[in-house]
Amino acid sequence: MDAPQKITHVLNRLSLGIRPGDRAKAEQMGVENYIQHYIQQQLNPSSLPEPNSLLVRLKALPTLTLSAKQLFEQYAVDNQADADTQQAMRQRQAQIFQEAMQARFLRAIESPRQLQEVMVDFWFNHFNVSENKGLTKLWTSNYEQVAIRPHVLGKFRDLLMATAKHPAMLVYLDNWRNTDPNSPQAKGGFRGLNENYARELMELHTLGINGGYSQADVESLTRIFTGWSVITQQQPTADASGFVFVRDRHDPSDKVLLGKKITGGGPDGGLREGEEALALLAQHPATARHISYKLAQYFVADDPPEGLVSQLADRFIATDGDIKAVLLKLFESDAFWREAYYQRKFKTPYQYLLSIARAVGAVSPTEQDLTRIYGFMNQLGMPLYRCQMPNGYAQVEGPWLNPDAMMRRVSLAIATVNHRPPENKPDPPALQATLGNQLSAETRAIVNDAPMHLRSALMMGSPDMMYR
């Protein structure tokens, strides 16, 4: 890659898209210097202050800072209430989703901590929950705020533990009902085993599909997680996290997981078994590989080079799953800077729409603007917080690139530009300067040949804008 390519590359892969001024700053600092500085800053987000305008907006979203317990107590629908009251409560619940969506987009567009926002997208998707399922509606926002966000550049083990104990995950993958059928409290809706979480935990979150586990391991792990449940009206708790361990639904017998004995029961009634199992999974070499593969695929190429994946897996193991260390290795690798991978990652709808918002220099977008982005994501088949399948959205080109999707992307690009008020329409020359060499010479020639009022839409809907 040449110097201008390097700038485009680092900005497009470590952020959600180039903003006005980014390129000028890089040129001013000198390319190599800028890149090193940028990577270091992005890996240490607390060194980057968030602008006051953003903090003010986030402060105005009160549900973001409520605990899972508070969300349950203030927003759960009371099944005993009459129909009208229940309806009103359901409408009130929608506020949680609205605020989560707004916060996500505001940060993605305006926060200087771009790698953190990129990793929120990555890890939320990896540990996907959908707010479409029962009580998950209450907790999806809190899940992002407390289980995902604080750990995106931390230790994988902490991230795993936080997701495993979060009520959103416990409901989404049914573990909150998972009960030893022979336990004292096995009754009603809690009569037996449910292996949904245990299976996805190994297949998707840690070891990977070929990670060397058997059906017997799924069954053991299911028993290990019996009794891991959530706050409900019948299961109140003082714990703000909303996590509840129901000792009387847990199977306290000894288990074998991946050939290792997990001693059952104990003074805490067996809660520790699950923690032990998570630690075992977090440090398993198959997990190191699986996570490394996914990171390489997300940041480098749909079919990432095998050498890079092994290097990252080694780093993962050597650092006890330190995500920051693994990412640094990735950004310093030769593979990351290979010209063959430049502008070759097809953006997901999320990445595409946010990169448009960033390129046009959206400043403190209105609620309406944010709702439009949300609506556009739906139209492109990627509704935020509503991916039904636990494997999350695809992060490769195949499922997103097709004739129909191209019609929509181009149309949304036009709509985005046209919708902006006249005084705030992106100035085509300025937009061209922002994107710089991300636009090929050919694209620039065609754009500059078109009527002025179409140029911005053409740039935003150009082939070059579809890739990062």
């Binding site: 809706g189 749909d302 088949g381 080109e397 004739p403």
Partner: protein
């Protein structure tokens, strides 16, 4: 993730400017004329695949009501025997199975399809499925869609079928859904409409001045440019065929009505100049780990309404259309602790169409007891066994209805030798 792995290959190849789609695929398609598609003769064979995502509980769809084990294993979620008399409340009778053949009964929510059964247009293949042992939704779905269980593959069998039938019509195959399904992914391009009607509403790209400008940006031969070009051609046809009235009706429909609305749009595309011959639809929410009874009742009702809409709106074309309804795997014989069932193995495949030899449940029934199929599978003594590979059903259909010989069949289902033939058509 095998699927991801495999998709990457195509991606990289395309990204590095590599074009080997000669003969078929986008390179060839881009040269095709864009005039109105020649109407397809009403007697040309057509195929619609309806995928039930999540693993439908086939034992509660086509109920083996003579099996004592079925009722033992499902104390709270079994479907009662047909015409159960002396039930404590009257509603119990409505919840009992509808007798099919003295051995199996249909879920009561499928009552709207009984006229098709009586007319001999509806058949089932029980204890059918993919031989893969996987209980992962994603793998199992991929295997049904690629038609290659336990193999890493990057294209779907419906796309390979399309390659065998390809004409120059950009709407020859239609994907209904939020995004392109794997079953229709491959070298051949496929048009799509979404389930929520969004694709059918006017888009900015439909305005002539904008089109001209964008057409220049996407005049090249890259995979991206060809996708754009195909999209433009397909849109012209879809917009011409799906009336404004239909667009309005489906716009903003809530999910329960979406399936029926999409069925209506699809039938229009199949019976008009759009001449659609192959189509894929999907309906989700079948992963009934919890409270299965209500979910199944609702989902099967939606499905029955959508299928009935297809039957009605396809008109004469229905005589040569087969609708295959399939899911990635069945569910456990026994209910779990939450009034639901967990991931299982064997399932039931549905066949609906004017040419089907219906009013019959095909396949060898393995039973649910230890001496029959149920406990015959070593460590997995919990599921319905599989006695018919799903590909045998599809191959029988494709050779009998579409007239494909062994060469074409081998290209559609590579490295597979059919184990038996079912007289379906």
């Amino acid at each position: 993730m095998k699927r991801r792995h495999f998709i990457t290959h195509t991606t990289l190849a395309a990204a590095s400017g590599f074009v080997t789609l000669a003969g078929h695929g986008w390179a060839w398609r881009a040269k095709a004329q864009s005039g109105p598609a020649a109407a397809l003769a009403a007697n040309s064979p057509r195929l619609i695949v309806v995928f039930l995502r999540g693993g439908t509980d086939g034992l509660n769809v086509v109920v083996p009501y003579q099996e004592a084990r079925y009722y033992e294993a499902r104390p709270s979620i079994a479907i009662a025997k047909p015409g159960s008399q002396g039930a404590p409340d009257k509603s119990a009778i409505d919840k009992s199975a509808i007798d099919l053949d003295g051995q199996f009964g249909l879920h009561p929510a499928l009552q709207p399809l009984m006229s098709e059964w009586q007319a001999g247009n509806l058949a089932f293949v029980h204890a059918c499925g993919s031989p893969s042992e996987t209980r992962s939704h994603f793998q199992a779905q991929d295997y049904i869609e690629t038609g290659m269980p336990d193999v890493v593959a990057n294209d779907g069998w419906l796309n390979r079928l399309l390659a065998e039938m390809r004409n120059e019509n950009p709407t020859q195959a239609i994907n209904v859904g939020e995004k392109m399904s794997l079953i229709l992914t491959g070298d051949e391009t496929v048009a799509s409409i979404t389930a929520n009607g969004a694709a059918d509403r006017p888009l900015p790209i439909d305005r002539p001045q904008i089109q001209t400008a964008f057409d220049r940006l996407y005049a090249g031969k890259s995979q991206l440019a060809r996708a754009y070009q195909e999209g433009r051609r397909a849109r012209e046809i879809v917009l011409r065929e799906i009336s404004e009235e239909m667009m309005k009706a489906s716009r903003g429909a809530l999910p329960p009505e979406q399936f029926k609305d999409s069925a209506q749009s699809l039938a229009r595309l199949m019976t008009s100049d759009a001449a659609t011959q192959i189509a894929f639809m999907e309906l989700g929410n079948w992963d009934t780990h919890v409270n299965q009874m209500g979910l199944m009742q609702r989902n099967l009702g939606l499905l029955a309404t959508g299928l009935k809409t297809l039957v009605k709106d396809l008109g004469a074309v229905y005589n040569n259309t087969t609708i295959v309804v399939i899911s990635e795997f069945g569910r456990t014989v026994a209910e779990n602790g939450n009034g639901g069932t967990d991931h299982g193995h064997g399932n039931v495949v549905w066949l609906l169409g004017g040419g089907i030899q219906g009013k019959k449940v095909y396949g060898e029934w393995p039973g649910l007891t230890a001496t029959s199929g149920y406990e015959s599978r070593e460590y997995e003594s919990r599921d319905l066994a599989i006695t018919t590979d799903f590909r045998d059903v599809l191959i029988s259909l494709l050779s009998q209805q579409f007239g494909f010989g062994s060469g074409a069949i081998a290209r559609i289902f590579p490295n597979y030798q059919a184990q038996k033939t079912l007289p379906l058509v």
